[in-house]
Symmetry: C3
């Protein structure tokens, strides 16, 4: 049961309403009037709480859960204990997500520009925006409607932000255009100079970084992640891509739509990721590469060559996953000998 | 000799006092009146300064040090040069630490709430707190006594902080409960949403992150480290655990007591570390794993399976250290051939 | 063509002027009066724009570029398409950098101390400084001339900064001395306590961190990078060294002149890098090591031993590059078998 000091609960809700908002189907229609008092994990849930099974790893917890109701894939429903009401879905985690969004709505504070913010007279602020204390908004900034800028963030000259965007506290954004419905988490640094210089024994010569960062719609960018602006071309983050914490995105990188970039990944300058690429945590991708649509890169991999669409790679230097696994198996045998 | 612009020195101090505060034993009681004028490294120390040998790697420096006095393990005392007064301890580094804490005390500024801070009327602030300029303290926050919040930090709604806690500058803390005597360094981001979503080709669906971050007593969290709040369960950092800079801790992670997590480590969601686990720099631990008590993970390792208590692992993918070393030796031989 | 909302263009400029500021030689003196209207990438450039070829990887783009003029190495000039005016240079990227610096000058805002900054009365501020809103400058700070401190940055007690230094937004600097012409990007944390403690089962004992961070002239330090102050000795960053984003530099590390440290590198405590060392992204260097002058460390390498001057190493654990390549080749053959 979430701590209601930190989360807002809409109140007791019937399973028929849960079914409606989540798209999951009740296995027993007669349970539609059952009231849910909150959500909880399988092993913690009380008899009036809602839970979910999305990972087969937790099947044993599911088999003994005391939850009042549970989202589950049709193939796993057979493991349900007696008494738990089932919400059947081909995508139980998505169904849970939709239910939880309904039960615990995020609220944007009342529209307000804090008197402790510093907002340039030449900035344009849409309706319903929240500008918290200590925020600095420089000349020429344009914010759409319902933008929420967290305390002490700094929005640089002429930055353009669409509507329903949320910027966490202590973020710094410059040289950047952001679409709608995107979220940048606390401490992100977007738009600073890329790491560009001509090496010279008398002193490296700075290459002016003359591009921007273009962030699409429905993008998420995690805490303390850094995205450098382009050197000439722009750095681009496509619609619906999710980037985790402490990720580094170099100048001129172009990330397509729907990509998933896990924490502490580094993507070097001028590399292109097509749509729906997934990159595991701490992986590194060298510069000037092309990663094809839907490619999957395992955690800690080191990518030094282009990857064809749909291919999964692992290792450092990375190989197609089947080849990598052969290496690992060979080395494991070595380790066990002697 | 520390730069007294940045550090406060208590003044000349006798070796008998040093012995008393550090628990180390003077090898020659007659040196108890000798006055120390500061601490310094073995190779820099003057004849009236105090140094220490804690790492056998520096034995040669010890053998020629000009220090006036030195902490040393009994087994290494034989290498001391003439003239240096010895403070013998089984734990010379700890003894040095205690002496240095005495000689160079940290000082908390005078209690004060800066008029340039923004403190909600509904926040509760204990005695002796320091709230620096630009700090934002939101509604319902509770601070114990002698809490020091560095400039421009943001403490979110209903966050609870114990006593004698120190938060560095530009930190952002939300959805969080912190015990006593803990320190969070500049730029930490604690309590933001975890990386939780249901993958969907039409647009990944956000899973509300309904937990908190619970930080125990005597915890240290390094600069620009990010700790996501739980997705439902809490993210937990146990008493006395030390976390270095730029570490990523995912949602629902539970870290036991006395753990040591070196810089740039990433720990994925829902993984559990029992007490006294040590994780070397840049190591990555996959999600949903269990790392047993006292396990040791070498730097840059990639952990994809549970680790039993007390086991030391290395490599990516990691193996028990003896097996890993065999692999490395085999590969080294290959490298030297031909 | 750079977006002039974010970048300032000096105006149409003749090739003879470009030749003068860049040191590149026009292949055809009669083109000296040709006017450039901006810079652009090879594949985007219009017939009145200036581009450059610095990486042979882009030779094919060069061969069909529509650019009006282009910097190029003499050896590659033969691939130029008809019509493009050539600026020949042995260091075409450096020549481009100098031209771009001339065409798109950085401008420092008009000297000003924001009334929303908090500047101690005991701080000394040079001529021509810019102190933006929300900046906190503590007691005893000394700034040279033309220092620009970005919004919401925090400059701790007695920090000394030379002239023509630029600190990005939301940076936190303490226990630090900075030379001239250096730049610290947004979110950097410099000078906080290093990760120093004596391990103790009853609770790790903090070792006071009694040193400083000394940053030379013409140094660049990337966004959200963390540099701990020394434990006793200082942490030192030599003149002209460039450090990328999200890098971790431990206490007592000494980095020489002209080094290049790419994003997400971690350098453990007390390690010394001589001049002109280059470290690839995500590499890790263990503590107490010595890396010789001009050594090169490949991305993701793990360095556990000293490296002689000039040597190139790769892998984790790292080997001289030739040996590492043999390992990789051997393993690749394994991967392809069966």
């Amino acid at each position: 049961m979430p701590d209601l000091q930190f989360h807002i609960f809409i109140g007791h809700t019937s399973l028929s309403k849960i079914s409606e908002v989540s798209g999951a189907k009740l296995s027993d229609d007669s349970s539609g009037d059952f009231l849910i008092t909150g959500v909880s994990a399988l092993d913690k849930a009380e008899s009036d709480e809602l839970s979910f099974l999305d990972n087969v790893r937790y099947k044993d917890q599911f088999a003994v859960t005391k939850a009042g109701a549970c989202f589950v894939h049709p193939d796993l429903a057979q493991y349900a204990p007696d008494g738990v009401r089932l919400l059947i879905s081909e995508t139980p985690y998505k169904a849970y997500a939709l239910a939880a969004q309904y039960l615990y709505p995020e609220t944007i504070p009342e529209s307000d520009v804090s008197p402790k913010a510093s907002v340039s007279d030449s900035a344009s602020i849409g309706d319903g925006c929240v500008i918290e204390a200590g925020v600095v908004i420089e000349d020429g900034v344009k914010l759409g409607d319902c933008v929420w800028i967290g305390a002490n963030s700094v929005i640089g000259r002429n930055v353009q932000i669409g509507s329903n965007v949320r910027i966490g506290a202590s973020a710094t954004i410059s040289h950047c255009v952001i679409g709608d419905h995107s979220r940048l988490y606390p401490g992100v640094c977007v738009g600073q100079d890329g790491f560009g210089f001509a090496i010279d024994p008398k002193g490296h010569v700075k290459v002016p970084q003359l591009g921007r960062v273009i962030i699409g719609d429905h993008v998420e960018i995690g805490a303390n992640t850094t995205i450098d602006r382009g050197a000439g071309p722009d750095t681009v983050i496509g619609d619906g891509s999710w980037i985790d914490n402490l990720v580094q995105i170099g100048h001129n990188v172009r990330i397509g739509k729907g990509c998933i970039i896990v924490s502490q990944v580094g993507i070097s300058g001028s590399t292109v990721l097509d749509d729906f690429v997934a990159v595991g945590g701490q992986a590194g991708i060298a510069g000037h590469l092309h990663i094809g649509m839907g490619a999957r890169i395992a955690a800690q991999s080191g990518i030094m060559r282009n990857i064809p669409a749909g291919e999964e790679q692992m290792g450092s230097p990375a190989l197609p996953i089947r080849q990598h696994m052969k290496q690992v198996a060979f080395l494991r045998r070595l380790g066990k000998k002697g």
